[in-house]
Symmetry: C3
Amino acid sequence: MNSIQLNKQGHLKHFLGIEGLKRALLIEILDTAASFISVSEKAVKKAPLLRGKTIINLFFEHSTRTRTTFELAAKRLSADVLNFNISTSSSSKGENLIDMLRNLEAMHCDMFIVRHNAAGAPHFMAQHVAPHISIINAGDGQHEHPTQAMLDMYTIRQHKGEFAPLRVAIVGDILHSRVARSNIHALTTLGVSEVRVVGPKTLMPKGIEALGTQVFHNLKAGLRQVDVIIMLRLQRERMQGALLPSAHEYFQYYGLTEEALKVAHPDAIVMHPGPINRGVEIDSSIADCKRSVILQQVSNGIAVRMAVMAKTLGTVSEQKGTQ
Amino acid sequence: MNSIQLNKQGHLKHFLGIEGLKRALLIEILDTAASFISVSEKAVKKAPLLRGKTIINLFFEHSTRTRTTFELAAKRLSADVLNFNISTSSSSKGENLIDMLRNLEAMHCDMFIVRHNAAGAPHFMAQHVAPHISIINAGDGQHEHPTQAMLDMYTIRQHKGEFAPLRVAIVGDILHSRVARSNIHALTTLGVSEVRVVGPKTLMPKGIEALGTQVFHNLKAGLRQVDVIIMLRLQRERMQGALLPSAHEYFQYYGLTEEALKVAHPDAIVMHPGPINRGVEIDSSIADCKRSVILQQVSNGIAVRMAVMAKTLGTVSEQKGTQ
Amino acid sequence: MNSIQLNKQGHLKHFLGIEGLKRALLIEILDTAASFISVSEKAVKKAPLLRGKTIINLFFEHSTRTRTTFELAAKRLSADVLNFNISTSSSSKGENLIDMLRNLEAMHCDMFIVRHNAAGAPHFMAQHVAPHISIINAGDGQHEHPTQAMLDMYTIRQHKGEFAPLRVAIVGDILHSRVARSNIHALTTLGVSEVRVVGPKTLMPKGIEALGTQVFHNLKAGLRQVDVIIMLRLQRERMQGALLPSAHEYFQYYGLTEEALKVAHPDAIVMHPGPINRGVEIDSSIADCKRSVILQQVSNGIAVRMAVMAKTLGTVSEQKGTQ
C-alpha cells in the first residue's frame, strides 16, 4: 500500500492506512501536528494553508463526530468544505462510484475524506482518482482508521515521550475494530516494546499474533504493568448476535474498572476513541479520572487531521520530520 | 439566573433568559444591536469580529428559520458555523449530553446555540460547560426564548422610542409560549407602563399576574388603547387536545382583525414572532398592513443575534450601554 | 419573459429561462464564464466578487449534484451559502411561498437558487421578490434549466468555435426534459444550422417543430452528419408507466452506441447532462471515449454558474460580451 500512498518524491499523497508506512513518515506527521496544536488554541483559529481548496466529506457511513473533526480541521485551514452523506443503497442505484469521482474531479475538488463500510473503498478511489486529488481514509469497514491511530500516537507521545519502552494494551472487540488494526500497525512501526490485544475469543481475529501482538483473554493478565490502555468501543449490535452475552456480563469480564486498572503501571494512561459507553466497556469513574486522556485525544484529533490534510496537499514543508 | 449569565466583571457570558437581567444590560444589548444593523445593509455583509471562532448550532428541536438567523448572524461576523440537528431520541441512546459537551469543548468550540424541548437545558449546559464557552438559548421548552424577546424590544424601541409610556398586549396561547414569557420579563424590566396578556382561560397560566401583567380574556378589552400588539403563533397541535376548539372558532374570538385593531391606539404596531398562520391568529390583511412590523422583526433579529454573540464572546466593548 | 429577466438598463437581473433572451446576452454570459474558468484551475480557487453576499439554495426538488455545483460556484466567488432542502409537502403545510420569500428578504439575502417541480415557480418568485434580489432557475418542472443550457453552449463553443454551421441532435425523452427545452432555445438563438430532436413518439411533445426543430423517430437518421449529440437522461420512472418498454428495449432503439455514432460527423462530440445511466441511454464505452465531453460539461458548469451569479448581482462589467 506504500506505493499508492506516496508520490514519486516519497511524500504523502493519500492517507489510506498505517500499514506499510515508514517510521520516519509517522514521526513527520506527529511533528507537523504539533505545529498545528496552537492554531486551535488561538483566539483566531485560522491558518491560511488550504485557502481556496475544496474538500469533500464523502461519508457512505454515518458519523457526525468524525465528520465534524475533519470539517473543523479543514475550516481552520481555511478550506471550503462540502458534506455528502451518501447511503450506499442510493449510490448503488444511481451513479456508480467511479462516475461520482469523475464528476467531483471535474468540479475541481482537491481532497476527499472517505468513510465507507466496505474495507478498501478509499484505496480503490485512490487508484482511480485524478493525480491532483488526495484521498483520506476516515474509516473503511474493518480495515483501517489511520487518522484515529495517529491521534492516538500523538496522545501517547505527549504523555510518555519515547515509544520504545512502552507496553500498550488494546482491549475489547479486536475482531471488528479498524481502530485496533491501525493502532497495531502504528505501535509496531513506532517500535513500542509490547503490543497486547485483550478480549474474548469470539472477538479476537485468528492469527493476530502475526502482526506482532501478544494475545490475552484475561483482562488483568493483559493489563499487568502496561503504560497505555486503549479501550475499544463495543458496538452494541454485536451483542444481538451470538458473539457476546449481555453488556452487563461483558463489563464484568472486560470493562475497565478501578480494580482492573490497579495491575497496570501506576502512571498508565487510559484512552478510548469515543463515543464511550459508560458502564459497558469502561467504568464511568475511570472515564473521568485523571489518568483518562480521552478528551485530549479529541483535541489532538483536530491537529492531526490538519497535519494530514496539509501534508497530502503539499502545503507544508516536507522536511519537518527529518530536521 | 443572573449569576450564571454574567461573568465576575458583570459582563454577559451566557444568554439563557431575560428573567433576572438588569435594565442597563438589556439597553446595552439593544445599543450594540443598533451598531450591527448596518452590517446587513452593506454591499459586503461582513464584520470580522468573530473570525476564527467556532460556533455550533445544537438544535435538539427542529427549526430551520431560527437556526438560519443564528447562522447568518454568525457568518456575517465571520465565524465558522456547524449545524447539528440532534433528535433527542438518538441523543438519549448514545452519548449523554455532558459527554457531547465535553467532546465539542475538546474540539475548541467557542459557542453553542441551543434549542431544546426541555426547559432548562441551556441553563444546565451553561452550568457544566468549560469556562471559555458561551451558551445562547435559542428556545427551551416553555421557558424562555430570550433573543426573540430582545428583537421584539428592538423593534418596539425603533418605532416607539421610549418604553415607559407604552401599553403592550401579548395575545394568544400564553400558557405554552416561551416567547410570551421572555417578552413579559423584558417589558417589565424595561419599565413599560402596562403589560397585558390576552387569551382564553385554557391557554392562560395560573398566577401570571404575579409577573406584573394584567389578564384579559376578551380581545377588544385587552387591546383597548394599546401601543404595541404582540400576537403569538398558535401551535395547531393544541387544537387536537381539549384546550382549543377549531381554528375557525379561535380566530373568531382571538384573531387579530381590522375590527379588533380599531380599539387599539391609532399608531399601534402589530408584531408576531412568525411564522404566521394567516386566518388563524391574524387576518391576512393585518399581517400585510402598514402597522405590521413583522418583517422588520426578522431583520432586527439578525442584528440582535450578532450583538448577543459578540457580547458573550467579549469581542465588542462592554461600555456601550452605559456611555 | 425577457422583461422580468432584465433590469431597466437591459442587464441580466434574474436568470429564469433561455426563451426570449437575445443572442448578444447569451454570448456575454459565455464570455464572462470564460473569464471564470481559470478561477477553478488556480491553486487558490477564490475570487472576491461576491464576498459578503448571502446566497440561498432553495431546493424544493432534491439534487445533490446540481446544488453542489451552485454551492461551489458561490463559495469560489467568496459568498456565504445556505442550503434549504424543502419538501413541497411541508412547505404547503406551513408558511406559504411568498411568506418564506419575505422572511428571507428580511434577512438580507441577495440571491435564491431555486429548483422546483412546478414549472414557473422561479418566475413567480422573481415577480414577487424584493428589487435587490436575484432569482436563478436551477430547474423548474418540465419547463427550463437555463444554466445547464449555457454550460452546454459553452462546451459546444469550446470544441466547435462557431455556432452557425452546426447540426445538433438532442436525443431521448424530449417530452419531459427541461434540459431539451432550454437547449433548443439556446441553440436556435445562437443560430446553429439545424436542431434535431430524436426520440420515440411517446416521448416527443406535439408541435415541437414550432420551436425550430426537426423531428426524428429513427436514431440513425437523426444522427446523420451531426456535429453535436446531446443525450438526455432517461428517468427510469417513465418506464413504469405506459410510455416506455424496458430499459433494454429502449437502449436497442435509442441508446448511443459505437454503431449509431458512425453516421455522425467524424468529429462529432457527445454530451450528456448527467448523471448517466450506462447501458440505458448511452453505451458505457461511448460515455468514456474521446468524443465524450461529459466531464468537461461539469467543469464548465461551475464557471457558467459563477458567471450568471456575478452578472445578475451586477458585480462584473456588463460590457464583457460586446467588447
